[in-house]
Amino acid sequence: MQGDRQALNEIYRLHADALFRYGIRLLHDENAVQDCIHDLFLKIWSNHARLSDTDNVRYYLISSLRNTIINYRNQQGKIEHQELQERDGFAMDFTVESQYILKEEQTEKAQRLAEAMNQLTARQKEIIYLRYFEELSYDQIAEMMDLSKKGTYKLSARALEALREILQVEKAVLIALLVSLKH
């Protein structure tokens, strides 16, 4: 029992940052996110879940937190449906004013690309986040976001139209980001 507790504390210290970063994008409320993380760890403790396989711990925690947050929101009565809605879904804003982007690249083209990407749906942004920030595999993302349902990951017509107008050739890249989930 004592060893289990130590292991749980260790897992928390390793993953708390990532869980909060992800959770706050979904829930936009610091206290609520902390409550959800609290509930998640309590559930793990009660279920005697063994989290020794380090490869899957991050994935297990993030997908469990996602479920916890969805349940939390359902209880709060903020949404009727089980799935997250667009209006209060995953928050992700892109900008060219970033440490990652070199001065010479902050061109008009980059500006327009960022704008186009900002028009992606919350769901698409979440996929991108999980892939490039959390570096989960396509299989894991498809599993936790239930992407087996056809078309859920396709670009919205509006985003596609924007890309076509603004980027013309470069749209292929952006589509590739999401299409790669198709396997």
Binding site: M1, R5, L8, N9, Y12, R13, A16, D17, F20, R21, I24, R25, E30, Q34, I37, H38, F41, L42, W45, S46, M92, D93, F94, T95, V96, E97, S98, Y100, I101, E105, K109, A110, L113, A114, M117, I128, Y129, Y132, F133, E135, E170, A172, V173, L174, A176, L177, V179, S180
Partner: protein, 338 residues
């Protein structure tokens, strides 16, 4: 280390490559050097590389909101406190479960005890049936037909071993007493009918409690016989028989004891025995009511042996001895002179 196929990569391939991802994210010296030298050769897919890099840079431009170290620590404390609460609750629940199951077991034990010490064992024999009963103390009771015996279920724990009898039974009582002048609890054995009370220590006797006759015959040992109606008490010696008269007083006779116990061998031994008594015994054993043609016949005396094993054959023998015919109306048998 980055592999050598990068020249064939399109933007999509770059974005799926872990090394490329690490380069854009972390920009550590080794990776930067590698990609700069790769770019220097002006590969054909340089545009795809730049496109992918910009794409990823824009993706990574999305700012994270982080949790502060103090907040993270506070949250961990809260989680641990809640787990302590869970552990405490679980312990309480287990303790409560142990308690409640203990209480339930005690209640069951009490109920069992109440039942055990208050209930009575009843044993009956029907007409023509005989039974050997072994009492919990090791005493034996041979029950004659149409009799009932009852005793407390906690027979061995009662102050006196006490059995109630209606009908007839032959007792072989286990002897526990060491010092007859100081009889301890459980050593005294009491056999009681509605008219008689027999107190014994350890002995062999026959107790008969029928509508027509109440008597105790002692075969072995010593008994104290008490008439419940008058309170008269007699001490019997082996071979003595105490019969209760109609005035609730005892008549004590010395007897051979054989006729009184011959029923155990399914026989009636008759030595100048009244017909009325034999007919009454037939009624006792087989549950018929027998009407004689006149009262003089009842006072006739006969000798011999009759088997009681079978009601019909017993009646057949009686009819021949008395020279009568029978007429039945239900459980009533009318005997009529031939």
């Amino acid at each position: 280390m980055p592999n050598s196929n990068y020249n064939n990569f399109n933007s999509e391939d770059f974005l799926a490559d872990a090394d490329f991802l690490r380069y854009v994210k972390k920009a550590n010296q080794q990776d930067v050097q590698f990609w700069e030298s790769w770019l220097k050769d002006e590969p054909e897919n340089k545009a795809a590389f730049l496109q992918a890099r910009l794409q990823l840079q824009i993706i990574l431009s999305s700012k994270d909101r982080v949790i502060s170290a103090t907040q993270a620590d506070a949250l961990l404390d809260r989680i641990n406190q809640s787990i302590d609460g869970l552990v405490h609750k679980r312990r309480l629940r287990i303790r409560r479960m142990i308690w409640s199951s203990g209480i339930a077991a005690s209640l069951l034990l009490i109920l069992f005890g109440v039942w055990f010490f208050n209930s009575t064992v009843h044993i009956n024999t029907t007409f023509g049936e005989s039974k050997l009963v072994l009492l919990p103390d090791g005493s034996e009771v041979r029950m004659n037909a149409n009799s009932s015996l009852s005793y407390p279920r906690a027979f061995k724990w009662t102050k006196n071993r006490m059995v109630l009898l209606t009908g007839e039974a032959f007792f072989k009582v286990k002897h526990f007493n060491q010092n007859p002048s100081a009889v301890k609890n459980g050593e005294l054995f009491i056999a009681q009918s509605n008219k008689l009370k027999v107190e014994v220590l350890g002995t062999v006797f026959n107790l008969k409690s029928r509508p027509n006759v109440n008597e105790v015959t002692l075969i072995k040992g010593k008994v104290r016989v008490k008439a419940i109606g008058s309170g008269e008490a007699r001490i019997l010696k082996p071979g003595e028989m105490a019969r209760l008269g109609t005035d609730s007083r005892f008549m004590v006779n010395v007897t051979t004891t054989v006729p009184q116990t011959s029923w155990i061998g399914n026989k009636i031994l008759m030595t100048q025995t009244r017909v009325g008594d034999i007919i009454a015994e037939f009624e006792n054993l087989y549950g018929y009511k027998v009407i004689l043609p006149d009262t003089t016949m009842a006072d006739k005396r006969i000798d011999g042996t009759i088997s009681t094993l079978n009601g019909e054959s017993m009646l057949f023998v009686l009819k021949n001895i008395l020279n009568v015919n029978e007429r039945r109306e239900g459980k009533t048998i009318y005997l009529e002179r031939r």
